[in-house]
């Protein structure tokens, strides 16, 4: 890092550290050790800390000790002033008792003494690395996809039928994971490939299991909507995966990331619902159970024939209502009936 050691002689006063912080994440960019006040900060070369920031005055800030011995920072009459923490108004002078962050121009500084207490040491995570679970999950996804393909195989079996979708899935997972890793590396310096891989693999596995259960459940419970609403859950899983990826990049701004994920889900579901309803109104296709299962999987007891036809008769009112409405999106009916 940019640490500069200034030769000192030991004194009774604890050493003073001036830390220049990065603009984006407020990490320490440079750290200077002093043993005595006053310390001056500015662009000019007669300062103790020189800041190459055009918005900083030649002599911007001076740190001294107040009457009670506490460190005090004062503005030396700069144009852009001194701001403490996130204050909206500049300050002339501030007592540095609680590790304040000082903004001068576009530069952020922090002043700490050697007496500053640091938090306890966090233990190293020496648990399992992420990738074995990720590989396990992705294997599950592949197995389910292959099983689904095999169980719907009604023609001559052909290897290419399995190979192509699985290859596409593999490429998609690799590209997706790499994209998130690059992003993470840009922000935090560590790609965290294993974690991102685990997130996408677990998400895909969750959705695969759900969609299979939904298909079978739709038949077993005679609940067609369960299978036909799978796409909503696909978007929910995608939203969850994106949220997890964003958290894996760093832990900051959780509400914002949650909102981003929710917007993605809402937009996706809205788009697909609209597309489906337009498809139905264009081609007049009803939403019916699309896949039957072996009869043994049926859980509900069958409707009595009489009840079935009562339900069928109930559709008549809907049809008669639709009849008098104009064709959806079509040309209006001729007017002769209205005379």
């Amino acid at each position: 890092m940019g640490e500069v050691m200034i030769p000192t002689t030991p004194l009774a006063e604890p050493a003073i550290w001036i830390e220049v912080l990065s603009r984006l994440h407020h990490d320490v960019a440079a750290r200077y050790r002093f043993i005595d006040v006053p310390i001056t900060v500015g662009r000019a070369y007669d300062n103790d800390v020189i800041v190459d920031d055009p918005h900083v005055a030649a002599h911007h800030l001076r740190i001294t000790r107040g009457e009670n011995g506490a460190l005090v920072a004062e503005d030396l009459g700069s144009l852009n002033g001194l701001y403490v923490d996130r204050a909206r108004k500049p300050t002339k002078e501030v007592t540095l008792d609680a590790g304040h962050e000082l903004s001068i121009g576009a530069t952020v500084l922090r002043v700490r003494t050697a007496a500053h207490e640091v938090p306890a040491e966090t233990p190293m995570l020496r648990g399992l690395p992420y990738w074995p679970s990720a590989v396990l999950c992705i294997a599950g996804v592949f197995a389910l996809a292959a099983l689904d393909l095999w169980l719907s195989e009604t023609n001559e079996p052909k290897a290419i039928r399995y190979f192509t979708p699985l290859l596409i899935l593999t490429v998609a997972v690799v590209v997706w994971t790499t994209g998130w890793s690059v992003l993470t590396r840009v922000f935090t310096g560590r790609p965290r490939f294993g974690l991102h891989f685990l997130i996408v693999a677990a998400g895909l596995l969750g959705y695969s299991v759900y969609s299979q259960l939904a298909e079978i459940g739709a038949f077993a419970l005679s609940w067609t909507a369960l299978a036909n609403s799978s796409y909503v859950f696909a978007w929910l899983f995608l939203g969850g995966i994106v949220f997890a990826h964003l958290l894996a990049v760093n832990r900051a701004r959780r509400p914002l990331k949650l909102v981003i994920a929710l917007i993605l889900v809402a937009a996706g579901v809205a788009m697909q619902t609209l597309k489906q309803s337009e498809y139905r109104s264009t081609y007049g296709q009803p939403a019916l159970l699309s896949r039957l299962e072996p009869p043994a999987l049926r859980l509900v007891s069958p409707q009595r024939e009489q009840a079935f036809f009562t339900d069928a008769e109930a559709l008549r009112a809907k049809l008669d209502k639709a009849r008098t409405e104009e064709p959806a999106g079509g040309e209006p009916q001729s007017e002769e009936d209205d005379e």
């Binding site: 896949r291 072996p294 009595r304 024939e305 109930a314 009849r323 001729s334 002769e336």
Partner: protein, 471 residues
Amino acid sequence: MRASAFARSAGRGIALVFGALVASATVSAQSGSPAPPAAQPIQAPVPPEPPLMPPTPNVSAAAESIYAVARPGLLQIRTLVEAAGRQSSIGSGFLVSADGLAVTNYHVVSQYALEPKTYRLEFARPDGSQGPLKLIAIDVANDVAIVKVDGTDLPHLEFDPAALEDKSPRGERLYAMGNPLDLGFTIVEGTYNGFVEKSYNARVHFTGAINPGMSGGPAVTAAGKVAGINVAKRLDGELVSFLVPASKVSALFERAKTEPPLDLGHVRDEIDRQLVTWQGAFYHALGEQGFKAATLGPYEAPESAAPWFNCWARTNADQTPKPRAQLDSTSCSSQSSLYIAEDIETGRAELSHAYVRSVDLNPFQFAAFVSQYYGGAGMIRSWSRKRLTQPECHEDFVQRDDGGKAGPVMRTVWCARAYRDFAGIYDVAITTVTQDRDKEALVSRLAMQGVSYENAVTLAQRFLGELAWAK
């Protein structure tokens, strides 16, 4: 692919013989058979008289004198687009009374009947005179319409007494007249071959060349009396044409003489009324004729005993590569189609059964195979946004009520759609898949067009009730 189990025979297209000039020589296929209209051969110029039957000198002389007598009573009937003043379709017709009543096909005037503000009717006579036509009466089921020409003491044709009693002798020579393809009035010789056996609506089988534009023209006996009117022809045969029998034409003519003329503001209501009446009789007759049980594997399935069904069987056993589930299907389609407009045909019923059994599919794969035949609304004709509402469906597992034949649990879907133009009639299809075995299933479907909701429910209940285990 989905419909293939219920594939109907190929190439049974029937064309109505009126010319739609917009599409040149194209005619709309009348039958609801799946043969696409494209199957209709674009006619090479057809000589006015068919050279197939070289006429003997005296027959030719007969045709000559018949044409000379009948000619003044003939009409060409044109439907014009009001805004453009040009014809959009043409047909033929003929005068049947001195005060100007004339006969043609309903389908010749259907555009005008449904949209009287967009179109108007005009006639042209062989002598070149033209004038407006009034629509007086229609009979949708028999495809007849009565129109009126202004005038008195007009030359007209009379009905053949034998034909009025449906007693014409088979083999009688008939002469069909009309204006084919807008080429000019012609006379065509042909033979009366009795009533079409499998048609629910009475149709005379006429062996002679009827072409687009001749619809509504008369077919007369050697004595010059009307035995029927030209209406349609088969596209997959040669000289296989159809006439509306004189008795049906005369019935509407007699009614038109006494009843007030059709209210042009409410033609749809009149068509609706006729369709409701027609389906009442048709589905009642279908029920009366009853069902006979066909055995398909371990199941017993109902087939209609009515004579006006055309049945076809299909199997996939001879396919290569060898199918992994064997499918044997029968599909029966009623010959009762009604033409209402270019994009509305109705009046057919279809009964299909497909017996499927696994060759080497496991139960899941077998269920996936059967799913191909389960999905979809199962209707006879494709959906038209302008004419039909979106289908509404109800699906569930169904168990037969106690008291009926012993039968399996069935996965059943009921779909219905309403006609936007006509209240009281619907298209309904019920499809059912047996759920008692994991490698065998019977997929059955009953599809009904232009049926009242009550009739649909009654017939569907009966249909389900007849699906049972074979004894």
